[in-house]
Each structure stands twice: as C-alpha cells, then as structure tokens.
C-alpha cells in the first residue's frame, strides 16, 4: 500500500458508460460516479474521476494510485496500471460477497460469468460470444422496438402476466420476432419480461452455477427485476451489490489500493 492515509481510484471505461470509484485505505467506498463514455474515452475517464473526487470532497493529489479497467482501459494514460474488467468485477463483487460465488455481469456490450472460490480466486470465466445476445445492447434494441425508454422495462415487465419466449439470440432476429409477436397480439409487458429473461439465459449459458450469484453491471442496478428473473432462470439466490454498475470500477480501486505485485502481468 503506497499511502495508508490516502485514497485510491478505479476507472471502468465501458462501451456505454464510464464509472469511477474512490476508496480509502481501508477499501471503503467513498464515492462513485457514472457518465456516458461517448467517443473520447480519455476525456470521459478524466471527467468521471473529477466527478467522483467532487462527491468524495477530496483533491486529486490525495489519490495514491489509479487503476483502469473496461474496454477503454488502454485509453486512460493517467492510470498507474490496468486490469481487465473480468479481474475487476471479480474483485469488486467478492469484496461484498466474501464467499465462493459466481459473478454475472451484464454490461452495455458484453456479459461475463466469473466463478470465484471462497478466497476470491478466479476458477474460470466466460464472456459472451461475439454478438449482442445477453447484453445491455440487446435490451436497448428491445426497448426501442417496444417504444419505451430502457429504464421503463423494469416497470413494464413487472406487469407481465403471461410467459412469452424469444427464441432467437440474434438481436436483429429477436427484434423482428418482437414485431411479429406484437402483430400477433402479445402484450408489451410480456415481451419486456421475455427480453429480460432472454438476456438472463444468454448471459449465463455455457456455465453451470452451483452456488449464490452476485449480479453486477448497469442492467442489474437499473432494472431490479433482472436479478429476480436471473434467480428464477438459475434456480439460485442472486444478490445485487450496492453500486452494481460501478462494481468493476470498485474492483479496480481495490486493486489500486492493494498495490502492484511481483506477478502482475503489467501488459502495458
């Protein structure tokens, strides 16, 4: 730990949003900020860090170390180190779980499942295949087809009374499937529920889940019904940590606090 009196920052530059988290030397979360990533990742990272600093009420000079993560992790030149979002979501989720768990992270354009042992070590992980199935992008498209803002999917899905299945995992084909079902008289609330269940299934296919699940990412934070559907699909308990969307940034901040280790891959 380079500065036991200082603070540490993690910045997760995701495909849709950028998240910054500041923790103190004890690993306690002091502030979290979220902003759109846009097209300038470096600027988004800087702006989000500044927002988090403002929330925490501390100057930048008190940040001992910064770790970047996410798709734009290489676009944060002021970071001291970088880690993949797999490592950081695992680290952040384990901090709240403190037991063997499976992390299910559904982000804007990817999803991942990470199996952790009771010490937080990664046993294995799996990302979505090369398409939007099981990601926030799929839900954005479904919301557009249902003509509602994505945030409204939660309330809409809660009024679902009938189980409707979306068979296609391809976003474009699923969108046409939704149109066909609308024409056939299916209700938007049932289709919203079907879209969320599709994401839950697609994000978790290919990995057997034996224990509790921690759901992270923007979908879990902003659409609480997603965790309920995920629990139903996986037949297990699903917890959503505070600041689920910023879990990767939180993990990165914890990695920053832990300091460099001799075995770090340091891929820069």
């Amino acid at each position: 730990m380079p500065d036991s009196n200082g603070y540490f920052a993690g910045i997760d530059v995701g495909s849709t949003t950028t998240k910054a988290v500041i923790v103190d030397a004890g690993g306690e979360l002091q502030a979290a900020a979220v902003a759109r990533s846009g097209a300038d990742f470096e600027r988004a990272a800087l702006r989000t860090l500044e927002d988090a600093l403002e929330i925490a009420g501390i100057p930048r000079s008190r940040i001992g170390r910064i770790v970047s993560t996410g798709y734009g992790r290489r676009n944060v030149p002021f970071a001291d180190d970088r880690r993949t979002e797999i490592a950081c979501h695992a680290r952040g989720a384990f901090e709240s779980a403190r037991r063997a768990v499976t992390v299910v992270d559904v982000g804007g354009q990817d999803s991942k499942m990470i199996v952790l042992d009771d010490a937080g070590a990664r046993l294995r992980f799996r990302m979505n295949r090369k398409c939007a199935a099981g990601t926030g992008a799929f839900l954005e498209e479904m919301a557009r087809r249902l003509d509602v803002p994505i945030e409204a999917l939660d309330a809409l899905a809660r009024h679902s009374t009938r189980t409707v299945s979306l068979g296609s995992f391809c976003t474009v084909f699923a969108a046409t499937e939704v149109l066909a079902k609308i024409r056939a008289g299916e209700k938007p609330e049932d289709l919203a529920h079907a879209a969320l269940r599709s994401v839950a299934r697609q994000a978790t296919e290919g990995e057997s889940v034996a224990g509790p699940v921690i759901a992270t990412g923007g979908v879990a934070e902003h659409l609480p019904i997603f965790a309920e559907i995920l629990a139903e699909v996986l037949q297990t308990t699903v917890e959503v940590p505070a600041h689920a969307q910023a879990c990767g940034a939180y993990g990165a901040a914890l990695v920053a606090r832990d300091g460099p280790t001799t075995d770090e891959p340091d891929p820069r």
Binding site: Y71, R83, T84, I86, A121, M127, K130, P265, P267
Partner: protein, 411 residues
C-alpha cells in the same frame, strides 16, 4: 507492437519459399513438366516420386489470411454459392481466384497461382478440401483424385492402414498416365526417407519449446513451418531446418527465450488467426506469456514414415494424424503435450469455419482442466474470416486468462 528476438534464419526461410514458388511457376509454364495440387497432409511423397512439382492451396489460404486479404475475396465465393460457414481457406482462395488475384504476385512476382495437371486430396484434413479441389477440377476440366481417410480413429489398426495404403497405391495408375511414366519405387523410397528427415528435424525444432525459457513460440512456429508443409522431403527444407535448429539450440544453450522474461507457458489448440498473428504475438510478448507448443505446428510431424514400407507408412502417417483421431485419443495427446512442455494453461481457438480443427466443442477444455489441474480458455474466432473475430473480446479474454494465472497462489 512488441517484437520478440528475431530469428536470423528467417531470411533463409524467405529465400526457400521464394525458390519454391518460382520453381512452381516455371513448371506450370513448361509443357514438359507437371504440377500437382495437394492437400497439406496429402500423399505428397508419391507426387514428388512421380516428378510433380507440388503446390499446396492451404498455404495459399493461409497467405490470404496473413495478408488480411481474405475478407476482400470471401464474398466472391459466397456469390458463387459457397456458404460463409464453410472453410474460410476455401472461400478466400476460391474468391481470390474468381477475382484473378493472388498474394503470390506481391510476394514472389507470380502472375497467378500455378495451374495444375492434377489435384490430389486427402480428406484427413476435412471434407472441405475435396469440394475445394473439385471447384478447380470442374473449372479447368482436370482430374481430381482423392483418398478418404477414416475419422474418429481410436487405436490405429491394420485395417485402417490397409484401407488408406490401398487408396494411395490406387493413385499410381492415374498419376502415371498424367506424369507420362510409371512410378519409380526406388525414387519413392528416397522421397519418403527425405520426408521422414524433414519430420525429424521439424519436430526437433518444435521441441526447443520444451526448454525454459522456450526457444520459440507458436507464432514463430506458424511462420517457420512453411517448409515442413510446402517443401517437405526436399533437400532445401532439410538444410533449412538444420540451420534453424542450430540457431534455436544456441538459444537453449544461452538461456534465451522467444518471449523475454517468460513467466507463463501456454499451449495453443486450434488454428492460428492468420490475420492477427502479429498482433497476438505482440500481446503475448507484452504479457510475458509464451505459447510454447501447439497442435497445429505439430500436425506436420509424420513419425510413421518408413522408406522400407512407403505405402503403408504413408498411410499410417495419414491415419495417425491428430485431426482424424477420436476425442479420447486427442485428449491423451493434449495431456501428453501439456506435460512434455510444462504448460500452465491451454488456449482453445474455436474457429467458426474450421470445426475439424476446433477441439473445444465437445467438452474437451473442461475435461482437460479437471484432469490436468490447469485452466483453459476458449475464444471464438476464425482462421481467415475476420468478421468472425473480435479483437477486443479476444484481447480481454487472453489478458484476463493471464491475470488468472498470475493470481494463482503458487504464481
């Protein structure tokens, strides 16, 4: 991009490859000489014994991938009725032919691919090679000859070997007519002997990867395997591998690795992503992870070849090939490679258009991980079609995999 230590023999490799293609080009223009196209693990020794100059379309496919021109040509083949889901070597090669273009033009000054007198395949690679060669056979009205090798082979039996040996022998009559003379058996024995020597040398080259640090990486191997594929059984290939082996043995003696500061040793299962060979090589260099061995590079080691029994030993080599073996046999081979090369983890490339060279689809990664106690990673990509490959997804997967190795308690 990070670059590893340069292999000095590379210039000799370039000279050899250029010489081969210029010779092929000259042969295809000379009415007195004969050119055969052959699949990369086809009966090349027989063709050489008949005096054919041999051209390997799979090598051309790899060139199209490595030069990142494949996606320019694949749509041409699709428009001809070939599915985008079949072998992207086939679709890029056929597409390039339809466009009248070839990377051989820029690389070696050839006007086009050397036109053959006959096309000879062995389905031990896949069924696609038969359809691939048939395209050209129909186009040019040329004979397409083939060998059908068994698939899912567990223990290799005499029945397997007899079957393939008879098929190879049956090629002699039609090949003799095209060549204009019967087979010279003594010459065949000499070619098989030379081919066995190529295999011995190539295997010795690959085994320098078993040292710590590894003297070469999979990415070096994917380049330097050229002569083992397109020039095996020739004096120049064997001379070349002696030069390369000397150099790599020198690295072993001096403790020099292909990846400076090697921390992690990985195995690559599946095809290369030809259009990202350099980028991936650079990524592994940065991560201080060396891909020390691969199924792919070892696929041109034919230990069964025996000049005293040419037909049966060629047949045995074709049937012992990893790609035609049963899932259990493949699993045993991979486990042995992991032990021999002291590997920390296995990367499986699930190549969309190359199912026969993608061994992650029937539970193999999970079984091996459990059996060997090492992690595995499977990433989706393709041999040539970069539309089926995501740079970001793959880089994140590989980085996360190496992070996972770094986080091991004993790391």
């Amino acid at each position: 991009m990070a670059e590893g230590p340069r292999i000095a023999a590379t210039q000799a490799l370039k000279d050899l490859m250029e010489g081969r293609f210029r010779s092929l080009d000259a042969a295809s223009r000379d009415p007195e000489r004969r050119v055969a196209w052959c699949t990369s693990v086809g009966p090349v020794e027989l063709l050489l014994a008949f005096g054919f100059e041999v051209y390997f379309p799979e090598n051309h496919g790899a060139m199209l991938g490595a030069t990142r021109k494949a996606n320019q040509y694949i749509p041409r083949a699709i428009a001809e009725g070939y599915s985008p889901d079949i072998c992207s070597y086939l679709t890029s090669d056929v597409g390039a032919f339809l466009a009248g273009e070839t990377p051989l033009a820029d690389a070696y000054g050839l006007a086009g691919v050397p036109k053959p007198d006959v096309l000879v395949y062995n389905t031990n690679q896949c069924r696609d090679v038969q359809d691939w060669f048939s395209f050209y056979g129909r186009r040019w009205g040329l004979p397409v000859l083939g060998i059908q090798t068994h698939r899912g082979v567990g223990e290799v039996t005499d029945a397997h070997v007899d079957s393939v040996a008879l098929q190879i022998e049956a090629l002699c009559e039609p090949l003799g007519k095209i060549a204009g003379h019967p087979l010279d058996h003594a010459r065949l024995e000499g070619v098989v002997d030379a081919s066995r020597e190529t295999s011995r040398l190539w295997r010795a080259v690959l085994e320098t990867g078993a040292h710590r640090p590894s003297a070469l990486s999979f990415f070096d191997g994917a380049i330097h395997m050229g002569p083992a594929v397109i020039a095996r059984a020739t004096q120049e290939a064997n001379d070349y591998y002696r030069i390369l082996l000397d150099e790599l043995s020198g690295r072993v003696e001096k403790g020099l690795g292909a990846v400076p500061g090697e921390r992690y040793r990985l195995y690559w299962e599946g095809m290369p992503v030809w259009g990202r060979l350099r980028a991936l090589s650079s990524l592994f260099l940065e991560l201080k992870a060396c891909v020390v061995a691969s199924t792919y590079c070892n696929s041109w080691v034919f230990e069964a070849l025996d000049p005293k029994d040419p037909f049966r030993s060629m047949a045995r080599a074709a049937v012992e090939l990893f790609i035609v073996r049963s899932e259990d046999e493949k699993e045993k081979t991979l486990a042995e490679m992991v032990r021999r090369y002291d590997v920390d983890g296995i990367i499986f490339h699930d190549a969309k258009t190359c199912p026969n060279n993608s061994n992650s689809r029937y539970g193999m990664p999970g079984r091996l991980s459990k059996k060997l106690g090492i992690p595995t990673l499977t990433f989706q990509g393709d041999v040539n079609d970069l539309r089926l490959y995501s740079d970001e997804q793959t880089v994140t997967n590989i980085e996360a995999f190496v992070e996972q190795l770094a986080d091991r308690p004993h790391a």
